[in-house]
Symmetry: C2
Amino acid sequence: MAKKKTFRPKARVPRGLRDQFAGDVMARQAALDTIRAVYDSYGFEPLETSAFEYADALGKFLPDSDRPNEGVFALRDDDDQWLALRYDLTAPLARLVAEHFDALPKPFRRYQFGPVWRNEKPGPGRYREFFQFDVDTVGAPVMAADAELCMVLSDALEALGIARGDYMVRVNNRKILNGVLETIGAAHGDDPEIAQKRLTILRAVDKLDRLGVEGVRLLLGAGRRDESGDFTEGAHLSEDQIAQVIAFIEAGDPDRAKVCATLRALVGDSAVGCEGVAELEEIDHLLSAAGFAGDRVCFDPSVVRGLGYYTGPVIEAELTFEVLDEKGNKVQFGSVAGGGRYDDLVKRFKGVEVPATGVSIGVDRLLAALRLLNSDTAQPAGPVIVLVLDAAKMGDYQKMVGELRAAGIRAELYLGGSGMRAQLKYADKRHAPIAVIAGEDEFAAGEVTLKDLLLGSRLSAEISDNKAWREDQPAQISVPRAELVAAVRDMLARDLPAV
Amino acid sequence: MAKKKTFRPKARVPRGLRDQFAGDVMARQAALDTIRAVYDSYGFEPLETSAFEYADALGKFLPDSDRPNEGVFALRDDDDQWLALRYDLTAPLARLVAEHFDALPKPFRRYQFGPVWRNEKPGPGRYREFFQFDVDTVGAPVMAADAELCMVLSDALEALGIARGDYMVRVNNRKILNGVLETIGAAHGDDPEIAQKRLTILRAVDKLDRLGVEGVRLLLGAGRRDESGDFTEGAHLSEDQIAQVIAFIEAGDPDRAKVCATLRALVGDSAVGCEGVAELEEIDHLLSAAGFAGDRVCFDPSVVRGLGYYTGPVIEAELTFEVLDEKGNKVQFGSVAGGGRYDDLVKRFKGVEVPATGVSIGVDRLLAALRLLNSDTAQPAGPVIVLVLDAAKMGDYQKMVGELRAAGIRAELYLGGSGMRAQLKYADKRHAPIAVIAGEDEFAAGEVTLKDLLLGSRLSAEISDNKAWREDQPAQISVPRAELVAAVRDMLARDLPAV
């Protein structure tokens, strides 16, 4: 048949994409179930939008060339409309709310988990497909909606096993930053010089994490030369103005009332600034009523989260435990979720403002954190594996595996074509706790042999003076065939920590 | 700021795609959890591949023009390689196995759930993004792997609540069909005439469902004229040959041994045919050993499942209960899953044959079936909703909702900006079982009012002589504030069916 030379494609996952194997998928599934239960308990409902949106609905990434590859994966549909894979879960929500506005309950409270795609340069740990878990309330003008996001995020992190003290939900309000800008005359106006100054200030503030206060101070003043010698022009604020901005970004404290008092002084009589402080005060009031103290949710004016988009409270969840960075320095793990109020987003479609607020969990980063926190937990156990030593006895092996499953024990019949040695290797690779062995001798004696595959590693972890116990635990036993299920159950029970 | 005319994109989900709201997402989630638990119990492990594959790895849809839109969504990457969204979950599995061949346990047993995309003409209920749930064993030459797929499918359907008798797993073997073709001289050879005859026969057999036996008979003979007058040329088999093929496709029976005996007679001494029958006999043996009788898994030679691809056993799961078709006729619901053995698929990459077998559940069709079966079950209950009647008391409302959640009751604080009437409407729209009402009077009296929102619909469903019970169940009660949680719990308990 094959007269022409056979084409053999190279098997490779595409650039910047990845496969996820059992351990990762199971860990993610468990985390999602936990988060979902918390979101459900707050009355949010699930939603799923399609992977594609029309490119014009996505907004900032309008295709403007024949190959619109700026940030999104886009392609032209049969009817010449541009489709793009969603790059987040907020833009599809805005589209959906605008499309179904009259039919939806208001407020519309939904969560959505799923992949998003960005056509960006991949790097280590930086994929072009990654996972977000968003929760939003659309049509809620009240600060209670923003306060609730802080609560639900905090509850979700604790439900995942992240201890209080190992995380912090930080809240800021863009209106306060605008108020501070107002008091230094950089808040409004189309004057390119003022707009440039405003942008320079925002960028400087946004760099606090990376450059520290002194770096920000330079960028707010004359400018800053980095280690490579490159110079970044500063905002040329006066000493007083710089002090004011620095006081603002350093105002964070677990005592939320204290932060509000500091901020109220800083915004002076800026109307927008006062409004922003009043909003934080309302959030503080609600958090306190609900029992969320400053050790779970604090106010931190250094939280900026990008430059556009947000119109009120801004929220960020950070993991505060220390990990080693690539240079071996201890650093805090950092942000795993963020969001805030975006009252303008639906407006793009409808012309009317629809108040909305939400947060997005970066699921991949969160899972990386959970892996670090749970590094001591064992690999999830594989199935009990029934070896196949005599093909003519396949029906008997099938019966064994069926009995185990019927008893609620995860069990697998070996389905390859190899001998006993390879089958035991396979069982190890699958992290099987037990291999069920029945060869000629066992069938003749009406028995099965159970080999405890976890015993070795478990014993080596035991303290050495536990020798007597060890000798009581043979790695391999033979039992009557009729006692298979009971014996497997006993052997599995040994895996429970010995007290 | 907005000097130029504002562009307002129309908010619309892209053509052939869809949004899925809470009811659908929750039903799917529940079904997936159930299926996953069954697959886990058999020792399969989860896997997730990326949404994209390189187009050459997908095989039959190689891009051959500048806009490769034949069946897949494809786009050219920055580095000029063609990416395509996966159109099923089998091709990515084959790529993954080829890529990681040495590292994977063999057999490699995985399940994968996820969306797949096909760039085809959308229609009613026919989307360009839909969901599959696949389970495969790669590297398993033994029939026990195919038998296991029948078992796991059958167990999964029953776990989903589909009663025995309402479904059937049908099994065929492509080798037997090839054997029958051999006996009538249409099995092998590159001779275009024979190849054409073979294709015509296969197509005819594949149309049994749609045309019935008489239609197939015509297509095996001289040809068939359909209602519109179009004529389809037949395979021009002799009467004897036609009788043989018809006997083959009509051999299906719940008595698997009987089917095997019939088929053995039909394939005569065709080596491949005998091999196919022996494989079915082995599957029968294993199914019987595991207790899966002909009322769950039967042999049905009319199951063809497409023309290429499969190399041995072919499996299809059908739901056999009757539904009304678009013309109001009773028809069986039909296929919800299918698959079989495809020993050649990994060969495309590796050059060596890797035996593999798997089945794919069409999740959307399965969910449609479950909706029909469970049409009597109520809409899942929404959260208890705490109304907001006095913005100054927001902290008090927040406390109430927090207490309810802490007691494990799904509860939501109303976060919109509307009055009481609209809030009650909102609660109805959310299927809230209870609205918690606290206005001026309640606060003054230290009470809360609970309004039972499900009572009305529940009462109207009660038999009418249950009037006394009805009068004992006021739709609205006031209780001391301290008894909020207990009273809500009592009211929710009323939803349990009265015995």
